[in-house]
């Protein structure tokens, strides 16, 4: 472990242990979003308990490979975003837009794979109204997909404002980078819950 390195960081860009990363308001938003997903997952758990056979049959029609690819895509994206934030801490400020761009690109990849999955399922005759399993599958994953898109927009907006030097002080830079990264990690975290619950659990 090379933890002692942190001591060498210039104080202005370093973060103290007690502070939350990013803006408090962003954390309100993240918790609100997590609350929505928690309710969706709770509803899904209830439905699964009530109609276990319907869920087993439904899970069998999904493509876990596609889910796995997307999991890797989002994790790669999170890695890039985390590298961007780390670059700021190391005062290599010019690196952030590039890393955030790669993060957003992983989102594009995710959207493409997800769309292909939807098209396949639609062609096989499944949709939101087929039964409660497909409602949860289509609705929850689409709602999550919208969050991936929002996360991409946030990353790109921060990257662009970064390049145009909108953030003047170390404090505003850290706030912007941490807030955007926190939101992106939330989107990633939700998928890490959704993937096993929807694709793997028999």
């Amino acid at each position: 472990m090379n933890a002692p390195e942190r001591i060498n960081l210039p104080l202005s860009e370093a973060v103290t242990e007690e502070e939350i990363p990013g803006d408090l308001a962003m954390w309100f938003f993240i918790f609100a979003e997590l609350a929505v997903f928690a309710l969706l997952l709770g509803g899904m758990a209830f439905a699964r308990g009530t109609w276990p056979e319907m869920f087993s049959a439904g899970v069998a029609t999904l493509h876990p490979e596609a889910g796995l690819i997307n999991t890797l895509a989002l994790l790669t994206g999170s890695y890039a975003v985390a590298r961007g934030v780390a670059a700021v801490r190391e005062r290599r400020l010019e690196k952030l837009p590039v890393w955030f761009f790669w993060g957003a690109l992983s989102g594009v990849f995710y959207v493409v794979v997800k769309s292909v999955e939807y098209v396949q399922l639609f062609n096989a005759g499944y949709n939101l109204r087929t039964n409660t399993f497909y409602f949860f599958y289509f609705f929850t994953t689409f709602f999550h997909l919208m969050h991936v898109v929002l996360g991409m927009v946030i990353l790109l907006v921060v990257a662009r404002r970064w390049q145009r030097q909108v953030y003047q002080t170390a404090e505003t830079r850290r706030m912007a980078a941490d807030s955007a990264a926190s939101y992106w990690h939330m989107v990633d975290l939700v998928w890490l819950m959704l993937f096993p619950l929807l694709y793997i659990l028999p």
């Binding site: 308001a25 609350a35 929505v36 439905a47 409602f135």
Partner: protein, 470 residues
């Protein structure tokens, strides 16, 4: 007052208050009719009184929103309104159309009104809250479009702020969703489905943007907190309001024949609907805590902060009480709904309009705030109205619980009929009527505070310090 054109807000605010008084008078008539069924019959039947009570509420809030917009837009954009004349013309058109419609409701039976206004050529009447004759609906649409034109032209030529953008988005949504009032399909399911696109997407969607913008404006002005901080909160609040509110429409689609998945969507997303209101409350208190100056208009601050608390209780907590599908199965359309409706409308929309009137009226009359004497009376009116409305809400909740217990939960054979249940809650209705009278006294105190303000002119600093406020 910094911009001459802000003064067009005056007639809007004044007329809103006249209609508010009318709404309360009809509320008291209705409250009595719940106890004495044929009170004022046949002159004012229950259904007519209810129609007048609810329509007046919506119309006076719209007058309030328009007045608020005309008042705050010049300050936000830092330029005069595009056309004060258009604003004045639209005021008279709207006021005339509104007055004639109410007179129509009261003067002739509803069926005759439908016949007189040619409803058969373009039928849109006969639906709850959208009872207005088609010609009135068209008039309203024209008023909204003219108003929007004026707003957008002003925003385009001036400074663009988050407050004015959020407000304009809300107003565009208001006009856009009104168009569904003209869609009246033969299928009752489809009719109800899109009916909610007006009713729900107004009050639990775009109106929340208007509320957020007016609240942010008042807080910026009265606390002097940086715009950046306020704007960030505003963005998050409206994002939450829209995420929860739009899909939350599902809680109206539970038992009307819409697809079954609405049971899930409606329950889950409306369970989130209290959050934006909670955030609004945190926002208001954190702005107060960070305030950089003490604004002399304490009354306006009281209304604004009170608004966030009561909106959270009324729209948030009381909405959540009966929003989950398995609960709503029993509570649907009981007095519990009425309890929620009263506190939500009062907390979220009545109080924000009273807040902006309270803030703007002294400024429109050349002073920063009313005299202390007047403000004391006004703050007392805030407490009187708020406590009375809380009482009305608690009593209607009790009535609702009894109703659910006697009429909804037992099996068919064991359930009490609707009218027999109503008899069982008469005592609660008497208490509700008393709380209603007390609310009326609160309204009277609010209006009286402006008369006191005009008579006591000791007030605070003149408006010269305004340069520091933008």
């Amino acid at each position: 007052m910094k911009y001459a054109s802000q003064s067009v807000a005056k007639p809007y605010f004044a007329f809103a208050m006249i209609l508010f008084v009318g709404q309360i008078v009809f509320g008291l008539i209705l409250g009595t009719q719940y106890i004495i069924g044929d009170f004022m019959f046949p002159e004012i039947p229950f259904n007519v009184a209810r129609m007048v009570h609810t329509n007046l509420l919506i119309v006076w809030l719209l007058f309030g929103f328009m007045g608020a917009t005309y008042f705050l837009l010049p300050e936000e954009t830092q330029c005069e309104l595009h056309s004060p004349l258009l604003a004045k013309i639209l005021f008279w058109v709207f006021a005339a159309a509104g007055t004639l419609t109410i007179i129509g409701y009261l003067a002739v039976p509803y069926a005759t009104l439908a016949e007189l206004t040619g409803n058969k050529y373009f039928p849109t009447m006969g639906r709850e809250f959208l009872e207005q004759p088609t010609i009135t609906k068209i008039g309203l649409a024209l008023v909204f479009i003219g108003f929007l034109f004026n707003v957008i032209m002003t925003v385009l030529k001036g400074r663009k702020t988050v407050v004015s953008m959020v407000l304009t988005t809300g107003l565009i949504g208001l006009a856009a969703f009104w168009m569904f009032a003209f869609y009246n399909p033969a299928s009752l399911v489809m009719d109800k489905y899109f009916w909610w696109w007006v009713v729900h997407l107004w009050v639990e969607g775009v109106w929340e943007l208007i509320l957020g913008a007016i609240l942010a404006f008042i807080l910026i002005r009265t606390t002097g907190v940086d715009r950046e901080v306020v704007e960030k909160w505003l963005y998050l609040i409206i994002a939450m309001a829209l995420i929860s509110g739009i899909l939350g429409t599902g809680h109206h689609f539970f038992f009307i024949g819409a697809p079954e998945y609405w049971l899930w969507i409606g329950s889950i997303f409306s369970a989130i609907e209290p959050l934006p209101f909670f955030m609004m409350m945190v926002f208001a208190f954190s702005m107060l805590k960070q305030r950089r100056r003490d604004h002399p208009n304490k009354a306006a601050v009281t209304w604004a902060v009170g608004c966030t608390i009561m909106a959270f209780l009324g729209a948030g907590v009381w909405g959540f009480l009966h929003t989950l599908a398995p609960v709503n199965y029993y509570t649907h359309g009981t007095q519990l709904t009425a309890a929620h409706g009263h506190l939500a409308f009062y907390g979220a929309y009545v109080m924000i309009v009273l807040a902006i009137i309270s803030y703007a009226w002294p400024i429109l009359h050349g002073r920063q705030a009313n005299s202390l004497q007047s403000q004391r009376l006004e703050i007392a009116s805030c407490w009187t109205m708020s406590i009375s409305m809380l009482l009305i809400t608690l009593l209607l909740t009790a009535a609702g619980v009894v109703q659910i217990w006697l009429q909804r939960i037992p099996d068919d054979a064991g359930a009490l009929g609707f009218m027999a249940t109503q008899d069982a809650i008469t005592v609660i209705y008497w208490m509700r009527l008393a709380a209603g009278v007390s609310f009326g006294i609160g309204v009277f105190m609010y209006l009286a505070s402006f008369v006191v303000a005009a008579r006591t002119s000791e007030p605070t600093e003149p408006l010269l310090a305004e340069g520091a406020m933008s």
